[in-house]
């Protein structure tokens, strides 16, 4: 409803341009990515193949091209896009809730907890649902631990958050190591190791659905809570004095974030840094209002991870684990943001 009030402002016109640009970029990214790979398909053939699904087109493409585009690349791009969007939404929500532009699912412990949950699930079962369930449960648990350690007098400082995150991640990494140590070296161990490095290689439409549902549900909850996240980002005392139910609001958002992160971890392993860097970048474009920030972060996150996955699968003959690339890109950016934030005084908040 607030859109009505806003449409006349220059900010709203700028925003329309932003949505148009981001959506076009996403569409272009998908078409481009469907074509590239070790088996190249031209963009015009990609478009024809896609249109062929709905229009009675005379095939100008080879059947193998259609299989590559629709059965191999499409689900993979879908999962990469969903994972990128989900992680970015989760990060944007966390940064608002912790009133700190420098947190993400990884800093806050969700990823390390989910990694252990997932590794343990692989060890004891073959079930994908159990994998998501365990990743969610332990991701949530790790987040609670970090939150509990870092919270002092109702606020969590960035320093305490980062330190608590390190401590908690170290603990869960040890648990992951134990899991690897006891795993069958011929069968379970490689599965755990490759899963942990993060990859979209084993993509299928079933898997896309498995990650899509929790990501969509969690993101919807976060988006519905956009105004409450705004208020919460003022700090607990101010939010409470304005009449917000602080604890309940925060829990709803945190559970949604854990759900998204766990689904992504379950489907693609540890894809780090996206949830930290992308919302930060999106905020530079949109400003801090979560009404605009959350959808913008989702789109940028999807575009980003689709292209990172392109590099992972198409740059060299072998498949590079996607988590390695996001870490190589993300860690230096985080270091830069941390330096800049320290100068601005976020460290004291």
């Amino acid at each position: 409803m607030s859109l009505v009030d806003e449409t006349s402002t220059p900010a709203a016109k700028r925003r329309l341009g932003l949505w148009t640009t981001l959506l076009s970029l996403l569409a272009a990214s998908v078409l481009f990515s469907l074509g590239i790979g070790r088996f190249g398909v031209s963009v015009s053939n990609v478009v024809s193949i896609l249109l062929g699904n709905v229009l009675p087109l005379e095939p100008t493409w080879q059947p193998v091209e259609e299989r590559v585009v629709e059965l191999i690349r499409m689900p993979r791009i879908l999962i990469a896009g969903l994972a990128g969007a989900g992680l970015a939404v989760a990060g944007a929500a966390l940064q608002g809730v912790f009133r700190n532009p420098l947190v993400g699912p990884q800093i806050i412990g969700v990823s390390s907890g989910a990694a252990f949950g997932g590794a343990f699930a692989i060890l004891v079962s073959e079930s994908q649902v159990l994998l998501i369930g365990f990743a969610f449960g332990f991701g949530m648990l790790a987040m609670l631990v970090v939150y509990g350690i870092s919270r002092q007098q109702g606020r969590a400082s960035i320093l305490m958050l980062v330190l608590a995150g390190i401590v908690t991640s170290a603990f869960f990494s040890a648990l992951v190591s134990i899991t690897k140590f006891v795993a069958d070296p011929d069968d379970k161990l490689p599965a755990i190791v490759f899963w942990l490095m993060g990859s979209f290689a084993s993509a299928s439409y079933d898997k896309a659905l498995l990650i899509g549902l929790p990501v969509a549900l969690g993101s919807l909850v976060v988006y519905l809570m956009r105004f409450q996240i705004n208020v919460l980002s003022l700090g607990d005392e101010e939010a409470q004095s304005l009449g917000l139910k602080v604890e309940r609001t925060r829990w709803i958002v945190l559970i949604a974030v854990a759900l998204i992160s766990a689904a992504v971890v379950a489907a693609a392993g540890i894809v780090g840094w996206v949830g930290l860097v992308i919302p930060h970048f999106a905020r530079m474009l949109t400003g801090p209002d979560h009404k605009v920030l959350i959808p913008a972060a989702a789109l940028i996150g999807a575009i980003y991870l689709i292209h990172v996955d392109n590099v992972a699968r198409a740059s060299i003959a072998a498949e590079i684990p996607v988590g390695i690339i996001t870490a190589l890109l993300g860690a230096p950016v985080f270091a830069y943001l941390l330096r800049r934030a320290a100068n601005k005084g976020w460290s004291s908040e």
Binding site: S2, L224, F227, V231, S241, L242, L244, T249, P288
Partner: protein, 246 residues
């Protein structure tokens, strides 16, 4: 209306204050004065409901708008977005502010003479401008009680005059009940009907402003001599409360 009965607050083993009693009637303005560390902010937060008293009780009638002392912000929100957050109590969970909420936010900004600030970035405003935005946010909640923690601290004379003027005008227009802390007796003198002097953990004086804001009481409160001088101001005789520093 605010009624405080036997309020006490403890920090570890030490009482910050004990046995605080007063009733502030509807439409009245009260100021709290006292040296740093006597629990002025703690008392305000207890009344707002942000802190729990160790003893005693607080009774309030009507929605409370609270303007905290610190007004920095982690994110650089637009002023209108900040003021509309004052509507949080009227917006349900999973909901966002509607057209009406934005209208109220804009009207409130206009009322305080800062309608032009709507699209400006809060973190780029000056201290006085920020304080106005914070007051606008509290008023946008359609509060009946306004509680302000040192609303004029860190402001220059012209901004102090601006804030005091706006508070005075709003109180008379809306019939708000106002409770504020201040370190400037002159501000209490200007606005308050009643004054609470917080001398120490066990001693507080509550009474009409002209009975509380005397040379003897203020000197006892701060340990600094204070002169009450009769001065002419636009044809009226007013009392200027001047601290004498040695």
């Amino acid at each position: 209306m605010i009624r405080v009965e036997n309020a006490a607050f403890r920090f570890r083993e030490d009482w910050v204050f004990r046995g605080v009693n007063f009733t502030l009637e509807r439409g009245q303005t009260a100021a709290i004065l006292g040296p740093n560390g006597r629990g002025k902010t703690t008392l305000l937060k207890s009344i707002v409901g942000l802190l729990k008293l160790a003893e005693g009780r607080v009774e309030t009638h009507g929605r409370i708008g609270y303007v905290a002392q610190k007004n920095d912000m982690s994110f650089s929100y637009r002023v209108l977005d900040i003021v509309v957050m004052g509507r949080a109590a009227h917006v349900g969970m999973f909901r966002t502010p509607g057209i009406e909420d934005y209208q109220i936010a804009r009207l409130t900004l206009d009322r305080l003479g800062i309608g032009g600030f709507a699209d400006r970035i809060y973190t780029q405003l000056s201290g006085g401008e920020r304080q106005l935005v914070m007051i606008a946010r509290a008023l946008a909640s359609e509060c009946e009680i306004l509680i302000l923690d040192e609303p004029t601290s860190a402001l220059d004379f012209s901004n102090q005059a601006l804030i005091l003027g706006i508070l005075g005008r709003i109180v008379s227009e809306d019939g708000l009940t106002v409770l504020m802390t201040t370190h400037v007796p002159q501000h209490a003198q200007h606005l308050a009907d009643t004054v609470l002097l917080m001398h120490g953990p066990e001693r507080q004086d509550w009474g009409l402003a002209h009975e509380m804001l005397t040379e003897a009481r203020l000197e006892a409160l701060y340990g600094v001599p204070v002169k009450a001088l009769e001065v002419e101001n636009h044809g009226r005789t007013e009392t200027a409360l001047v601290p004498l520093f040695s």
